[in-house]
């Protein structure tokens, strides 16, 4: 039964990837598969490479001090955290917000089968994220130790345990959110605030971790005392492939997972009905104010966005990063500057800083992909927009508007913070605001175009179009890459090109690209919206 349910979930995912809803037939997957593999390889190389660098430095120092277990405590914790962060946003939505929950519960399917199938799709994410963090670390360790097959198998079991532990924690957090959501009025807001608090804790922990890492690299022996903490050394030793600790970790993982599954199964039906029940408030008539069609459509988009924690948390993290960046720059501007100079090992002029700040702002804003899933999110409601007397272009403008509304204010705040610290010349100041603004317009338009070209309107769980769709994946990768490319290109050309000239050219190219896509959206995209099935 579980196999059948997983097959159904995978077919939903595949449907969105390889089915052409317009032509009502499967599309040739060749190019898509190739592109997806290419991007996946790039991500694995990038993230794996970053973890690999940290692991290499740590491995050299800690193995030299005979603290192999500490190496795996640190890298194992990183992997666990990555796995939890990777799957936590999907856990609640996948388990409790799927549209077919009622249908499946009405069928003769045991609840534990439904839960297991749902949990396994979350496992794709936790496994991927935790694996990206621990596998390079294991590889470096094995290479340094010239590992035999026993150590390698032990390490792989360790990695498996970490991913399963991350899954259990994700599921537990999802359960916690569902418990709270059943009792709260402003569920979306509370869910987002709780998640943001979690993200804040993560960032604080990240800073702490970095400073700890520096001390560790200079004086590893000072951390040997950590072994007194109960279970910590055993956890680390499991990574080295040591039999008994590994067995203990394995049993603990299975026990925790079984307990979590037990709790989920016992509470599933109750929590689903709790999440559907809303305290009845009698309507009191208020004075109605009319709005323009465009404003009404924008407000509708805003309502869709603000009532979906999954949409906000997965597609608007860039705004949070930008706010965080603004705060950091305002608080530690000078310090950051010298750190940057130290890191880059070059002297950075004010003009260069302006150009680099633009690239950073563009890169961070690129992690907002609000417009990309917005067509798919119409789902079964699409008939409404198609039957109402509104132009397709008006609908698309509202979707673009939401992207800009959520991204531009924190972006401008970031630009202002940069300007206050860098003190650029007037032309640089203009570009500091202009180029990232144009880039956001480009990202919004590009995301919407991809969303129109590759919609998935038949989802049963909104996390599918939000997080697991081709369009979102491509939109975010391309947008972020555009920001990185802007910075890298500048560094390559800095010697021969004045910053303002470079920024001027970059603005022009960005404006041209945005203009082209907007033109396509207005002419072809609007018509395509009307033709969607």
């Amino acid at each position: 039964m579980v196999k059948l349910l997983i097959k159904r979930q995978i077919s939903e995912l595949m449907w969105s990837l390889f089915y052409d809803t317009k032509k009502k037939k499967a599309r040739a997957p060749g190019a898509d598969i190739g592109f997806t593999i290419l991007i996946a390889v790039l991500i694995i190389a990038l993230v794996g490479g970053m973890v690999g660098i940290v692991a290499r430095d740590l491995c050299g120092v800690l193995l030299g001090a005979g603290l192999d277990w500490l190496y795996f405590v640190i890298l194992g914790s990183m992997s666990l955290l990555a796995g939890v962060l990777g799957g936590v946003f999907a856990a609640y939505t996948s388990l409790y917000k799927a549209r077919d929950n009622d249908l499946l519960l009405s069928l003769p399917i045991p609840e534990h089968s439904i839960i297991t199938a749902r949990i396994l799709t979350v496992y794709i994410l936790t496994g991927l994220f935790s694996g990206l963090a621990i596998l390079p670390a294991l590889g470096i360790y094995w290479w340094q130790k010239k590992a035999g097959s026993g150590m390698i198998i032990g390490g792989l079991i360790f990695a498996l345990c970490l991913s399963l532990l991350a899954l259990a924690l994700c599921a537990l957090l999802g359960y916690g959110v569902a418990l709270l959501a059943g009792k709260m009025k402003n569920k979306s807001l509370i869910t987002v605030l709780l998640s943001l608090a979690g993200a804040g804790l993560y960032l604080a922990g990240y800073y702490k971790f970095n400073s700890m890492l520096e001390s560790l690299l200079t004086d590893p022996a000072a951390f040997a005392g950590l072994e007194k903490l109960p279970g910590l050394k055993a956890f680390g030793l499991a990574g080295t492939g040591a039999g008994l600790p590994l067995l203990g970790l394995g049993l603990l993982t299975l026990l925790l997972l079984a307990m979590v599954l037990f709790v989920l199964v016992r509470s599933f039906r109750r929590l689903i009905s709790a999440s559907a029940s809303v305290a009845r408030v009698r309507y009191r008539e208020k004075t109605i104010r009319s709005r323009s069609v465009q404003k009404a459509l924008l407000i509708k988009e805003l309502a869709r966005f603000t009532t979906s924690p999954a949409y906000m948390l997965n597609c608007a993290m860039g705004s949070l990063f930008l706010l965080f960046l603004s705060g950091s720059i305002l608080l530690k501007g000078g310090g950051l500057l010298s750190a940057l100079e130290q890191e880059a090992e070059i002297s950075i002029s004010a003009g260069m800083l302006g150009a680099l700040a633009c690239a950073v702002l563009c890169g961070l804003a690129g992690s907002n992909d609000i417009s990309a899933p917005s067509i798919s999110l119409e789902g079964k409601n699409l008939w409404l927009l198609q039957s109402l007397p509104v132009e397709g272009w008006q609908v698309l403008k509202a979707k673009l508007g939401l992207h800009l509304l959520v991204t531009l204010p924190p972006l401008w705040l970031g630009a202002l913070a940069c300007a206050l610290v860098i003190r650029p010349s007037v032309p640089e100041l203009v570009f500091l605001f202009l180029l990232p603004t144009l880039a956001v317009l480009l990202y919004a338009a590009f995301g919407l175009m991809i969303g129109l070209l590759r919609p998935n309107l038949s989802w049963t769980n909104e996390i599918v179009p939000i997080k697991q769709s081709f369009s979102v994946f491509v939109a975010m990768m391309v947008s972020m890459a555009y920001g990185v490319l802007m910075g890298v290109l500048y560094l390559r050309l800095a010697k021969n090109l004045a910053p303002t000239v470079y920024l001027g050219i970059a603005s022009l190219v960005t404006a041209l690209l945005a203009g082209l896509i907007l033109f396509w959206l207005k002419k072809r995209g609007s018509a395509r919206l009307g033709e969607l099935p």
């Binding site: 009502k24 809303v278 309507y283 104010r289 709005r291 509708k300 198609q386 009307g530």
Partner: protein, 235 residues
């Protein structure tokens, strides 16, 4: 009011609607009946501007749906058989959204919402999110949203499904009131007794082709509509 000329819609090789022509005049309630998959919903969606058709033309109040879709849509209201509304909005926000899109003035809108919500007994629930509505409540909300902007033509796909007897009775009277006021209604139904009592004209569709249409008397003669329908189905 509504003129459908040689409407044809294909899904791949399958012809869902085949050269269908109909004319609905102001003041008429026009029933559209046929077995499951006969092409009723496809026709209604085509007229509503949701479904692209392969050949033919649709005119609403003399305007071509092909060349002036917005003008046509602003004159009509369409309610599908299973109205999936915006779950993330409350009932009142949804009605306001529809009011804004159809540019219904605030005072008029307020009065219409007050009146229609009271008639459908939905006033107390307008503040609730639509996700908390039952199927019948969603159907009532969709109907209120259809009547709120006083459309000339109302297209209804199986409008009585999910409605309680009281709301069903109310809808029938509202349909008649709308047509008495000069509007027109084109609706599909499987409930032949309702069609027989309510409709001025009726069209029977089979495998995408119109097999009979005209006034109720002309279509059924001395038989019941059910007998005529079953006889045509067996042919």
């Amino acid at each position: 009011m509504l003129r459908i000329e040689h409407l044809t819609k294909k899904y791949g090789e399958k012809v869902a609607v085949d050269d269908l022509s109909l004319h609905i005049a102001p003041g008429e309630i026009y029933g559209f009946i046929g077995h499951n998959g006969a092409g009723k919903t496809t026709t209604l969606k085509g007229v509503a501007g949701i479904q692209q058709f392969d050949a033919g033309e649709v005119y609403i109040d003399g305007l071509s749906l092909k060349t002036d879709p917005i003008g046509c849509k602003s004159r009509l209201a369409y309610i599908p058989d299973n109205p999936d509304l915006y779950d993330f909005m409350s009932g009142i926000k949804y009605l306001n959204f529809i009011g804004d899109v159809f540019r219904v003035e605030a005072d008029r809108r307020q009065a219409r919402i007050r009146e229609l919500a009271a008639r459908f007994e939905l006033t107390d629930d307008l503040g609730q999110p639509i996700s908390a509505y039952s199927h019948g409540m969603k159907q009532k909300l969709a109907l209120i949203s259809a009547f709120i902007h006083d459309p000339r033509l109302i297209l209804l796909d199986e409008p009585f499904v999910g409605l309680d007897p009281k709301a069903s009775h109310l809808l029938k009277s509202m349909m008649r009131e709308h047509c008495d006021g000069g509007g027109a209604i084109f609706f599909s139904t499987h409930v032949l007794e309702v069609a027989e009592k309510l409709c001025d004209k009726v069209a029977i569709i089979k495998e995408g082709r119109l097999v009979r249409s005209g006034t109720m008397e002309a279509v059924k003669g001395d038989d019941s509509l059910e007998e005529v329908f079953l006889e045509l189905e067996e042919k």
